[in-house]
Symmetry: C2
Subunit: 99 residues, 2 copies
């Protein structure tokens, strides 16, 4: 990776590096969700969710399609779901997390 790629990659990672945004990715792994469903499922405010979704969309981690008055969110790139496996391992092997 060259310098410029690392800058962008850092931006993408930063977009994931937040509890709510990680939660969004995890929930969307299961399938499309409405904005309302997301903030209810993750227990945060509507405004909060809207702002976090914007960040995820900017990095093309989440895509949104409109349908009437609602918006449906889904993952752009399921490849990053591998990250949850690495993370699971990391939490248990390197940080002392029990099940």
């Amino acid at each position: 990776m060259v310098q410029e790629e690392r800058n962008i990659a850092a931006e993408v990672l930063k977009a994931m590096a937040h509890p709510i945004r990680l939660g969004v990715i995890e929930v969307l792994a299961d399938g499309e969700r409405t904005v309302t469903e997301l903030y209810e499922e993750l227990g945060c405010s509507q405004s909060m969710m809207s702002q976090q979704l914007k960040i995820l969309c900017q990095q093309k981690l989440v895509a949104i399609r409109k349908e009437g008055t609602q918006k449906y969110c889904s993952l752009c790139n399921r490849d990053f779901l591998k990250l949850f496996d690495c993370m699971h391992l990391h939490l248990r092997t390197f940080l002392n997390f029990k099940d």
Copy 2:
């Protein structure tokens, strides 16, 4: 993942989400390096590198062993190297990055 795990996972990701810290991980993928080697190879100041390494160590991404007056850095968890593959794909498929 439960709430608390997401908080920790976000911390770990945040530790990776920085150009220099990503650079460190990438360089260390190739093998152990001295702190001096790292900051020369990545073109940043000694102080900068020391601070970034601290962050990587706190999240158990990098391990350090002492040998005389030098410190040798290496990766704790090579599993996260998969991330670079995902990222490579993401940069090219979703953000318009050419080779």
